[in-house]
């Protein structure tokens, strides 16, 4: 087995697993189907991360593994390039998919079709993180998207089907614009691989450069749509809040981040595109603030979490955009990219944990309204949970997202805001941090004791709480704690994966220094103050007005047009 074929294993192993599951579904009865599902999952979800880590020493020597699929000539075949970023993406996907799948065994959709679809999605994610070819990126993004549409609609309720329909129409029409971008670039350069396009775009005249710029914007904005930066984020609220819980965890955790980091290679196609980094970064910062204020206004628990997804992605995009603007070869750029990757990783873990634990809690209580629901822990005990594990996992995740030590959110947010130091973005992100604290205090009120009298819990009539549910939650919680404790090592590892020119040595002295701890304290107090403001009378009136603003189907496209217009205007000024 050569190194090249091993590096492609994360693509064909999940596909093999999915094919085996589907064959066993058609031919054999239930028992063999279950066995096939478990074997397919071990093959497709368990093996690839192991293989990927096994390839890490080779990457340290070589830098990246470049290959052409099928060993044809590079000018006409599909080029793939496996580098450190691919390893991180595949590990991120595995860390979220495996606990979410374990969780879904008893609670969520649990048929063979669901497992096969999750495996196919993992194969597409691995392909996106490795591809160096524009049309292959299109096809793999469509595969990832179509699995998302089907998974969102899998609960068969009217709300979920409506959310899936809006997301489908919006994303598919945007991908047609992506095809137009591919048309423009192929016409100018005659090649579809990133290297060929870079060479072709290097020697162009001014009018052709204008066409190249338009094509690039038409390429970038549909990918940013999947990342849900404002103004392209209106689809996310319904799609993530109405989906089944395991699917929400997968969508929020994995699908929002993979296209962003695949975009790095697209933006390196030509130096013309480097002007896009700063506007995207600013869009991310404003997203972080606006989304967290909208989150404060929500009454539905899962919608609140969906708005928080948008806000945290805003953090990631701000650092990412600024990293591309300053250039990845500089020390500041490398730090920014590493910080944004680390925050993406932490966010995937704690957001998945939040969706799963809040999902369980609201299912057992029958109510999703954060203003009405109280005494949730008692309801969980009524459903048969012996230890308050769900509440514990929820609090671990909530403490992570509000950036309190020693969980991973504290380390990732501190590193991110430190790397953006000195400027308006730092201030805006700090305010957003306070907003996060406030809205999680609001969400945590569901665990306060209820004012109504409790029914006593009769021990004999308790159903058994599913073990797989607790297993899924505990794996994610353990990962949150571990990535927090070992954060300096993880940051160093990420730094070496990204090229290793600068060693990112941020130890515990940096994170627990006086200024950082003081800043955390300020954020906490600001959050408490904001929370007090939000539950007061004038505050709740403002928030009620905010919640009542609804967006229609055509507003999605207005956001798309606004994003394209903004990027084009900023780029054409140079």
């Amino acid at each position: 087995m050569s190194i090249e074929t091993l590096s492609l294993a994360p693509i064909y192993l999940p596909l093999l697993g999915a094919a085996l599951i589907l064959v066993c579904k058609s031919f054999f009865p239930t028992k063999i189907r279950r066995l096939a599902e478990y074997m397919g999952t071990i093959l497709g979800l368990g093996l690839p991360p192991v293989i990927v880590l096994f390839l890490y020493p080779t990457l340290q020597q070589q830098g990246s593994i470049d290959l052409v699929i099928g060993s044809y000539a590079p000018s006409i075949g599909i080029n793939f390039s496996f580098d450190g970023l691919s390893i991180l993406m595949i590990l991120l996907a595995a860390c979220v998919t495996i606990p979410a799948w374990i969780y879904s065994r008893k609670v969520g959709p649990a048929h063979s079709n669901f497992t096969a679809l999750v495996l196919i999605q993992n194969a597409a994610i691995s392909a996106i993180s490795m591809t160096s070819d524009l049309f292959n990126l299109f096809v793999c993004l469509e595969v990832m998207g179509v699995v998302a549409y089907v998974l969102i609609a899998s609960s068969q309720k009217g709300n979920a089907v409506h959310a899936s329909f809006s997301y489908l129409m919006f994303s598919s029409s945007a991908m047609v614009f992506f095809l137009l971008g591919v048309f423009g670039l192929y016409r100018l350069t005659g090649s579809l691989s990133y290297d060929g396009i870079t060479q072709g775009l290097a020697g162009l005249g001014p009018s052709e450069q204008k066409t190249a710029l338009f094509s690039l914007v038409l390429l970038v904005v549909p990918i940013l749509l999947r990342v849900a930066v404002m103004p392209l984020s209106l689809w996310l609220i319904d799609a993530h809040s109405k989906a089944p819980h395991a699917v929400s965890a997968l969508l929020s955790g994995v699908l929002l981040k993979i296209p962003l980091f695949a975009l790095i290679r697209v933006l390196h196609l030509t130096p013309l595109a480097s002007g896009m980094g700063l506007p995207i970064s600013w869009a991310g910062t404003i997203t972080a603030l606006l989304a967290v204020l909208s989150a404060l206004a929500q009454s539905d628990a899962k919608k609140l979490l969906a708005y928080h997804s948008i806000s945290q992605i805003g953090y990631v995009v701000s650092a990412w955009g600024l990293a591309l603007h300053t250039g990845l070869e500089t020390q500041a750029g490398a730090l920014l990219l590493a910080a944004s990757l680390f925050h993406a990783f932490s966010h995937a873990l704690f957001k998945a944990l939040l969706f799963l634990s809040i999902g369980t809690t609201t299912d057992c209580s029958g109510n999703r309204d954060v203003y009405m629901l109280r005494g949730a822990n008692h309801r969980l005990r009524q459903e048969g949970e012996v230890l308050p594990l769900t509440m514990l996992c929820y609090f671990i995740a909530a403490l992570s997202i509000t950036a309190l030590p020693p969980f991973n959110g504290f380390f990732s947010k501190t590193l991110l805001t430190y790397s953006l130091k000195g400027g308006w973005q730092y201030a805006i992100l700090s305010v957003a941090g306070a907003g996060t604290v406030a809205s999680f205090m609001k969400l945590s009120r569901i665990f306060l004791p209820s004012k109504q009298p409790f029914e006593p819990i009769v021990k004999e009539s308790l159903p058994r709480f599913p073990f797989t549910l607790h297993l899924g939650l505990s794996i994610l919680a353990a990962l949150c704690v571990l990535t927090g404790i070992f954060a300096p090592n993880l940051i160093f590892f990420i730094g070496t994966l990204l090229g290793g020119a600068y060693a990112l040595d941020y130890g515990n002295q940096f994170f627990f220094s006086a200024s950082n701890l003081l800043k955390t304290l300020y954020t906490l107090f600001g959050g408490i103050a904001l929370f007090a403001l939000a539950v007061s009378k004038p505050g709740s009136k403002v928030l009620y007005r905010l919640k009542a603003m609804k967006s229609s189907f055509s507003d999605l496209f207005l956001g798309f047009a606004a994003a394209i217009a903004a990027l084009l205007l900023m780029l054409l000024q140079h």
């Binding site: 049309f135 469509e142 089907v150 009217g158 089907v161 129409m169 016409r187 229609s552």
Partner: protein, 114 residues
């Protein structure tokens, strides 16, 4: 030369306008199909300018058209058809759930149920 591209552009814009402006969800799906058709036509038309024979090698074949856009568009057509099929199934499900095919009415009825 240019009149064909203007016509394809019109087809594209009409398809996009159908998605955004028409309230009926089946017409939105029509619009998506129109947009896909316009892009497919554009690729194949422009790719055919550099030759005058079909891209099948054989005796006496000298100037074939560019086969790459044709191969890419095979993939794009199949993807477009599959997405339309899924969208139509979702539309039928929405109709069964709310009794209407108008997106504004559907949104209102689903909200009031919830």
């Amino acid at each position: 030369m240019i009149i064909e591209r203007i016509l394809i552009f019109l087809l594209f814009i009409i398809g996009f306008a159908a998605i955004v402006a028409m309230p009926n969800i089946i017409k939105k799906i029509f619009g998506l199909n129109l947009m896909n058709a316009a892009v497919v036509l554009l690729f194949i038309l422009e790719g055919s300018r550099i030759g005058d024979q079909a891209p099948i090698l054989g005796d006496g074949v000298k100037h074939i058209v560019d086969p790459i856009p044709q191969a890419l568009m095979l993939t794009a057509i199949v993807i477009g058809v599959c997405i339309s099929a899924l969208a139509l199934a979702l539309a039928v499900r929405l109709y069964k759930a709310t009794g209407s095919l108008d997106i504004n009415v559907i949104t209102k009825r689903l909200e009031s149920e919830h």
